[in-house]
Symmetry: D2
């Protein structure tokens, strides 16, 4: 099992929910970047648990410690390893899940794969907690992309039936992305946000959980990133996004709605806008045939409801091969969507940076970050 | 630009719509497999153009020629290269698209990427025609998977507003998959198929095109294939599926509907069925946290309407930086969904075979194929 | 089994000695390069068989046919597939080698690996013939590197006991490299060349074969290519060079002699030469700790004597598990060293181009090739 | 820059000589292996500095801390991260080397590559210290290979002009390998070892350093590992071995001597030995055409003299572009060959394990380690 993402910039994630620490090794970083630790900290806080009633009550300081790859605060070009200690672990909660696997958790398939040697405590390496080092890596990628004027941002598109105003795909300003990021509950419409919080609270009170959709965008991308077929923008981002636990689907631009459309409706005519080539609908979502067009990259991803719920559920005993009942105690989010927002920004930024390094080379990326 | 898929079994696709030939190099194949050329031929026919009024009138014999990797009809374990000649090419149709790019084709982003050296004739390397060698490779993968009892099959889930009966995700028989494959128009319900054909014909008569959704399944997979995070089943299949031109979205199991569900509704309880561990809803679609559970793998993908339509469209002249009008002549499918069905089976089979080789090793896969 | 080299530019070799054809798919090429087919042809002729008494009498026109990746003579950026037909194949020669494997050929290990399904005719995929498409790919790489002023050249360093004048590692001119390339028998000293030819002829008359050493250099490399540890220049070139059949060792700069030296003798002091930083001995061979210094890259590789000899040899029958005698008929080179010289240039050029693309990006390499 | 080795099992090395810590992330490990920490500790001690007068006086406890990938002492199949703190760092020694680079260190090429942002303290990421986590990973690989009966061992073949008894390539017992490993100074002949120590001591007293050769073997390998061309055993081991700082050359079996031989002399006849197929000379060194034969794998690597010497040396000032003098103080080994011996065993074990997983699959390797 390998938890590595990227080709030019690689992020290799390690750690289990209840191991000594979690972290990442990031290779392929340009040398000479002054790490903006304040930015990284504030970015990681958006994902951190325990901030409000919508999230798990496990409190973790999540203080990243960079053990290599820096000298004097600047990247050296060497592999950067970040370590985040696990401090608040209550492992006894998980006794027994090996034999009576939790529905819709990976307990059972991992049991089969590892012969039962999987670390089930807190979800092990499959825990959402592993997105913390991913956010650390993503924050660095975001900092680098900013040097090129590229901004990545996401908002909660829906929670259950409550929906936010969607992005206007033809016109997404960096300012809008920045504004949404500052919110505790990242929606474009604050009214929609209130309705969503009601949905979450209702689920929590009923010992249940609820899913949602996140919409993510990247603006000011150059045209020409990506390739036809398997090394396209969509392939790369999809492969990254399914690395976020609980994602069940992804769509670009008009997405599944495109399947209901006529060509004359879905096709996205070019026109000259402010002296540049633009398109009228951005139904294509920023990439055609795997290659960026320069229009905003826009995608949405479906997130399933947290599988850990306090209601009693059916399961089996693997050793006895008999049906059983199960009630999950422990701490868990009634809805992970709000905390997942920065994780989407992180993996998207990493995927884009990877494409940028491929296209422009380590040397010119390095030159830029030192400006 | 690299058009390679897979890690243990690799398929490297080459060719442009109007180059001398298209084809693939397939590496990592087990040695000692007797290629079932009849099966491959019949599989490739399902994708071939020119069979009926729903598809492009470009007729190609699409006769694959295996130039390496075989001896006496058996695979040798060496790279297998298949070459398919392009015979029916009318390149003059494409003059002019370089400067006035077709909406929702990759003409413009490829122009930027290659400095205008892209091969625009027939869509070049971005053409749907490149799925022919992919089908060849997929047919071999399907033949190998069959030795393990694994079957992969797909159907047209919808065309525009017309919808087929969906798979019953908890109970998909190899027989159903085989039966649908035999149909000219691969739907589960023949009535639904008729409605879909009406939708396509209407679009065609209006010089337009239409999109749709394909649903694909794989049955009899062992539990334990795939990994958490980035090497999961979903990541791999998504990365493969976005290699099929015109795909705009993918979802597994309950997919985007999961975003509207409560955990108590989406969670998929285990129970003992016929002495084996099964789940009740298969809302998870066959893989949890990146790893197969042994339940049918089920996903759906959205396909956009063919961008080549005969209606006049807006575009620009790149050299003059002015708005222009464009009418596309030439041959094209009013709906590519029917022909795309075997392509989905092909990439899914390749992705699964890759996971199988990873888990069980070249040697044991080889032993099995010689049985 | 996978016969692919490179990361940014990839060459995937296919074919067996007696299959319908051999060839390569080359991905990652910049778009807009006008292929210099005359140069490629002349380069490939240096490797071609049947030119003189020192090489196998199998005559092959070795006419490469580019079936994809070009439009109007320029690279399109798409995968370039080259196919070379096998025309002159006498397969009956090889009957029987499966059960009584030829010493120091890969017959036996391949038999075990493939369960006997390996293609043994002419050495199958392990044949030196597979270096023909490698030379095609290398010639393109050489053409691209020339745009950056980089030249790669090799000479026969020794055949048996006969030795050429070695490169003066601190001062290798592009002119010297060009001059040696023009020779039928590529040595720096023509007298040494004569002695080498005597060695080969003696071996041939005694139904035997003989080995040798090739020395290869690349000049005008920029400093800073490569990385510490596993992605270094030496790792990459060694991994490429061991892809050439019959290579048994490789050494850089002072090489094995460094093991006998003191630090004060081996260390390579910097000094200012013509306003640039240079070193005094180039004992380091152009790369320190995996990274180029800007000095000439110099390495030597040992090539074993051709294993196919007409003298009777001992072997076994695999099926009978008994000792046997074997006499190899057929056509073979008494010494493959002369024909291997361009192959070394080819793989070295590919390795360097890969490092260049990594460092400077596809886009800037593309810009340069269009100048 | 990326310091990752392997495909099926991957080792990603991080850290600089004077960073907070060094370490590795190891992915692809089988689940259910009980880590033998005593074995790992004793293995790592063989490489540790400060043990005697032949090595640097920097003393490091080198206590590896496993922060992930284990549960209850058993591998979980998740990425295993090991962290080794740097405690004894004297960074002031290195001030000034950025502008006046040390001859035959990578100071200068790294300066160019990173724009001067490289971490020069203690050699940064290019330091031999980074082989400590490599040894940790290698010790695990060795533990796994032992389950298959495979043993890897190395000895000092020569130091300067003093030579050890070479391996008898046709007959290397696991017992011999074990016996040499136990020695403080790992030679086969103790007399040769004494002469070598005299060579080292002489170099040290003269403020100089000295190089040497290491010979490494692996026994009880199955036949059939590896592939023709670029994924062969020799390619993989060479790529790994050049990851060890100071390696200047590698040769397999008869190696460079093969270049002086006739085919009749170098060819390695098969014969039946104890009911099994064996070869008479093992001149081929255990692999033919990239694939193991089942005979011992034997290779030798040349190691340059430590570039850090106390004698005054010539160099330049990069900023002033003028010639300068340099005297290196600080702590360094007069000969790194003795401490490098286990590092060769480590990378060889990792390369072989990678080939084994490729051939036999994760699942069967996992089954074996749990026995």
């Amino acid at each position: 099992m390998n938890s590595e993402f990227g080709e030019r910039i690689k992020v290799s994630i390690f750690g289990q929910s209840h191991s000594q620490a979690i972290g990442a090794v990031i290779t392929g970083l340009p040398a000479g970047l002054k790490l903006d630790t304040d930015y990284i900290d504030s970015f990681m806080k958006r994902r951190a648990p325990g901030r409000n009633i919508y999230s798990t009550q496990r409190k973790e300081p999540d203080k990243p410690s960079v053990v290599s790859g820096l000298a004097g605060g600047y990247t050296t070009g060497d592999p950067l390893c970040v370590v985040i200690k696990n401090t608040n672990t209550i492992s006894s909660d998980y006794t027994g899940f090996k034999d009576t696997p939790r529905p819709s958790h990976s307990d059972y398939p991992l049991f089969v794969k590892t012969g039962g040697y999987n670390d089930i405590r807190g979800g092990g390496h499959s825990s959402g907690r592993l997105t913390a080092p991913l956010c650390f890596a993503g924050a660095i990628a975001l900092q680098i992309l900013k040097k090129f004027g590229i901004e990545v941002g996401a908002h909660i598109y829906s929670i259950g039936g409550a929906e936010d105003t969607p992005f206007d795909m033809t016109d997404i300003s960096p300012e809008l992305l920045a504004k949404v990021k500052e919110k505790d509950f990242p929606t474009i419409s604050d009214d929609a946000g209130k309705l969503m919080r009601v949905e979450i609270e209702k689920a929590r009170l009923e010992l249940d959980s609820i899913g949602g959709i996140i919409e993510c965008a990247a603006v000011n991308l150059p045209a020409g990133l990506g390739s036809p077929m398997f090394d396209g923008v969509e392939n790369k981002i999809a492969a990254a996004v399914f690395g976020i636990p609980a994602v069940r689907g992804i769509e670009f631009g008009a997405g599944f709605k495109a399947s209901k459309m006529r060509g004359s409706e879905h096709n996205d005519p070019y026109f000259i806008k402010d002296g540049k080539i633009a398109t009228k609908t951005n139904n294509h979502g920023g990439a055609i045939g795997g290659i960026t067009t320069g229009m905003p990259l826009v995608f949405r991803a479906a997130i399933k409801p947290t599988p850990s719920i306090s209601k009693e559920q059916d399961t089996v005993s693997i050793s006895e091969m008999e049906n059983k009942k199960l009630a999950i105690k422990g701490r868990h989010d009634p809805c992970i969507v709000p905390r997942a927002v920065p994780v989407f920004e992180a993996v998207t930024a990493l995927a884009i940076l990877d494409l940028m390094i491929n296209e422009y080379g380590c040397r010119s990326i390095s030159d830029k970050v030192r400006e």
